[in-house]
């Protein structure tokens, strides 16, 4: 497959850009932050996105979605990365939709996918328990209990956990922390007895949650996929999330870079535009190159998720690692080249730096993925 967007995907990008520039620019995020909004995003806007088919971008038409595939989802994530649009898109439309599509029973699909596509129900994926990502490190217990399970443990850094109606949670039904075997995924109601959610306001003005599961009862119907065999299933879902985050960061990096290059053409010091200084030109040109590499890795990851879902682990690690590092570089270079102004809250660039810091950490930072790639390649 050629490594380019097709016409349909290009059109999606254009319409997304137009919509987001108008309805959800960075100033919208700033407003949510300044008003200390409890939801952290605009539910009305999410409704509009759902009406355009974004919430169901991965959902099959049978279940009310538009089924544009991962490339389509990535195009939207990238555009939202440009405008730093806060929305439940990653948690609900990428992570939950992928989990249900790939792992759900017919009944689970029927019960969940249509409401994902309609933008009615919000989801969260609860994986990590420590400050650094590592699905194998999961210790949370899923104890056999009658015909079902009892879930106990603590999850952290659960994006959109504060508003989710349903939580997909990974727990250990066998084995010990550090082992891949023995994980099971559950789809539990956020209102279930024993679930307590603490909203955490993050650096990027978005929200996540620390969630405590205290003997939460889950029936067999709430198991998503196979009992004890959840590790690879979870990896698949995480890979989709990693590629989605990588696409988002690629968008943020591109936007931050374009703003910076424009500034280099406007700002004058020493009687001339600062863009005439070769020290800055070369840094900008280097950053341009790095961003082009990140874009390629991201597109390939999205394409492979569509065509070889089960084999996309390495390429998703590549995309996440590369886009994370490049986006960090882009935000750091932006602040530096803006000079004093880049340090001010009034100016938007700081929002990019903060969001990128969070996104690059989620589901594994560049070091995590470099290590993972090295292992996959036998060293």
């Amino acid at each position: 497959m050629p490594l380019v967007l097709n016409e349909e995907q290009e059109m999606l990008r254009e319409s997304a850009r137009g919509f987001l520039d108008e309805k959800a620019p960075v100033s919208a995020l700033r407003k949510l932050r300044d008003t200390n909004d409890e939801t952290g995003f605009d539910r009305g806007l999410w409704k509009e996105m759902a009406e355009m088919g974004w919430a169901g971008i991965l959902v099959e038409e049978d279940h009310g979605g538009v089924d544009f595939g991962f490339v389509g989802a990535g195009v939207l994530a990238e555009e939202m990365g440009r405008t730093l649009t806060a929305s439940p898109f990653l948690s609900t439309s990428i992570l939950a939709a992928t989990a249900l599509k790939k792992l759900g029973s017919d009944a689970q699909k029927q019960a969940n996918l249509p409401s994902i596509a309609a933008g009615e129900t919000l989801y969260a994926l609860a994986v990590d328990e420590h400050r650094k990502h590592g699905p194998a490190k999961i210790a949370m217990q899923a104890e056999k209990h009658g015909n079902g399970f009892k879930l106990s443990g603590d999850k952290t850094f659960v994006a959109d956990g504060h508003v989710a109606d349903k939580i997909i949670v990974a727990a250990r039904s066998a084995g010990a922390a550090g082992e891949q075997n023995g994980l099971t995924l559950f789809l539990v109601d956020a209102k279930a007895k024993g679930v307590s959610v603490e909203r955490t306001q993050m650096v990027d003005s978005r929200n996540a949650a620390r969630i405590k599961f205290d003997g939460v009862e889950a029936t067999g119907d709430e198991v998503l996929g196979e009992v004890d065999g959840g590790y690879m299933a979870l990896e698949g879902v995480l890979n989709a999330g990693r590629a989605g985050l990588a696409a988002e960061m690629s968008g943020s990096a591109q936007q931050a870079f374009e703003m910076t290059v424009n500034y280099l053409k406007e700002r004058k010091q020493f009687g001339t535009e600062i863009g005439t200084f070769q020290a800055l030109q070369h840094r900008a040109a280097h950053l341009y190159s790095e961003i082009e590499l990140a874009k390629s890795a991201v597109l390939k990851a999205l394409q492979d998720l569509d065509s070889h879902y089960g084999m996309a682990g390495p390429i998703c690690s590549l995309a996440k690692a590369k886009a994370g590092d490049v986006a960090k570089l882009a935000s750091q270079e932006a602040v530096q080249m803006y000079g004093g102004i880049g340090m001010t809250d009034e100016f938007d660039i700081g929002f990019y730096m903060k969001r990128i810091r969070v996104a690059q950490e989620m589901f594994g930072d560049a070091a995590f993925h470099a290590d993972r790639l090295a292992q996959m390649r036998g060293y």
Binding site: L3, T276, Q281, L293, S296, A366, A374, G378
Partner: protein, 400 residues
């Protein structure tokens, strides 16, 4: 089956039948390249057979039009052919500056007669070309070149010196940038001229590199000549007189693409991690040197992302056209990466790869290659020059 898949099946069948066994070892190293030309001695019968068969099919230059010795294939078909060749580990039948640089420039700027005259011998590997651009006082600032070319009625008279001319002593013809109008401003008085090196007025003197090899020369023009026309309609000058700079720049974009794609045989060869695992060894499944392991993992990420970028840029380029100013980005990144790769390979090699002579290291093969890569970010325009081009042509920064 789509047309492309039919083509794939046919190409594969043809390659399987026609590629000699000895040419199917995937050996892409510099020492195995077939360069062609009048002075060429084939390293084996297989190398000659392979060249003859491929050139008869037009597949030494698959994208060129058939009438000029090419295969007339579409961009997609060329990609498929390359993929199939890689799968079967076929060596490239022929490489040359004619294919990489002069060919594309002639296809764009040459007349039909010039193409008919010069391209088929390149495709068949009969004539080997070299590149006469750089001069002692015109390196990065190429347009300040001084090599003089005067109009003598029925012929041109050329006097001056070129330097760093790769393989000049093994080449038959040279494409040269010369000053045809000394009074014009820097960029406007330059012409692009084709010169037969088999004449008294042209001489070469090899220069030895830090790798101990002498792949390039000083080239002297002392009253060298070129006829106005080599045959009816076949002018010695490509493009318009005094507008050689356009041709020169266009050719450079192809040279840059070629150098970056070489990225140092990134496509073939074993990965750095694999080499390290074999040479240094693992502990609990991980390379026993954690800092080296991290360095390698980071580099493999960049290398993979770079290869994908090469692919994407080619896919994005319009059929039959190059990647334009992005060739500077690819050249910059690919060559800097290749240097980094060889630094790591030397780190892995440790003291074993520091032997310069002797059987064990095949006379310091890795060490010599490592030194050779240092030229990657100089030849074809330095990294700094590429960054300047990106700043100016892509980012459109002021004063760049």
């Amino acid at each position: 089956m789509s047309d492309l898949e039919t083509f794939r099946a046919e190409a594969r069948a043809w390659l399987e039948e026609n590629c000699p066994k000895d040419m199917r070892d995937g050996a892409g190293g510099e020492e195995n390249i077939c360069w062609g030309g009048k002075q060429w001695t084939f390293q084996s019968d297989a190398q000659k057979i392979w060249l003859d068969r491929m050139s008869a099919k037009g597949w030494t230059v698959p994208a060129w039009p058939k009438e000029y010795g090419g295969g007339g294939l579409s961009k997609e078909e060329v990609k498929v052919l390359k993929e199939e060749m890689r799968k079967l580990k076929c060596r490239s039948p022929l490489e040359s500056f004619g294919i990489w640089m002069l060919g594309p420039a002639l296809l764009k700027y040459g007349t039909h007669e010039q193409k008919l005259h010069f391209l088929p011998p390149i495709a068949r590997g009969e004539i080997r070309w070299c590149q006469g651009y750089s001069e002692p006082n015109a390196g990065s600032d190429l347009a300040s070149l001084q090599c003089k070319c005067e109009d003598k009625g029925d012929h041109w008279l050329i006097n001056g010196q070129k330097v760093w001319t790769s393989y000049a002593d093994q080449s038959d013809w040279i494409f040269v940038l010369v000053r045809t109008d000394p009074k014009a401003t820097k960029h406007t008085g330059i012409s692009f001229i084709l010169v037969d090196m088999e004449q008294e007025g042209v001489s070469t003197k090899p220069i030895k590199l830090i790798s101990g090899k002498s792949p390039f020369c000083e080239t002297f023009f002392d009253d060298a000549t070129a006829p106005k026309e080599y045959a009816p309609g076949v002018s010695a000058i490509v493009g318009e007189m005094n507008k050689g700079w356009d041709v020169a720049k266009y050719l450079l974009t192809h040279e840059r693409e070629m150098i970056s794609a070489g990225g140092g045989g990134l496509l073939g060869g074993r990965g750095m991690g694999e080499v390290a695992a074999n040479e240094i060894g693992l502990e609990h499944g991980r390379l026993s040197d954690p800092l080296l392991r991290a360095k390698i993992a980071q580099a493999e990420i960049d290398g993979w992302a770079f290869l994908l970028t090469l692919e994407r840029m080619k896919d994005e380029a319009k059929a039959g056209q190059g990647v334009g100013a992005n060739s500077s980005m690819l050249k910059y990144y690919g060559t800097e990466f290749n240097k980094r790769r060889f630094e790591i390979l030397m780190d892995i090699g440790g003291s074993d790869e520091l032997e310069w002579e002797g059987e064990r290291t095949k006379d310091g093969k890795l060490a010599r290659s490592w030194l050779r890569t240092k030229a990657n970010s100089i030849e074809g325009g330095t990294s700094e020059v590429q960054l300047n081009v990106i700043a100016k042509r892509i980012l459109e920064l002021p004063g760049a």
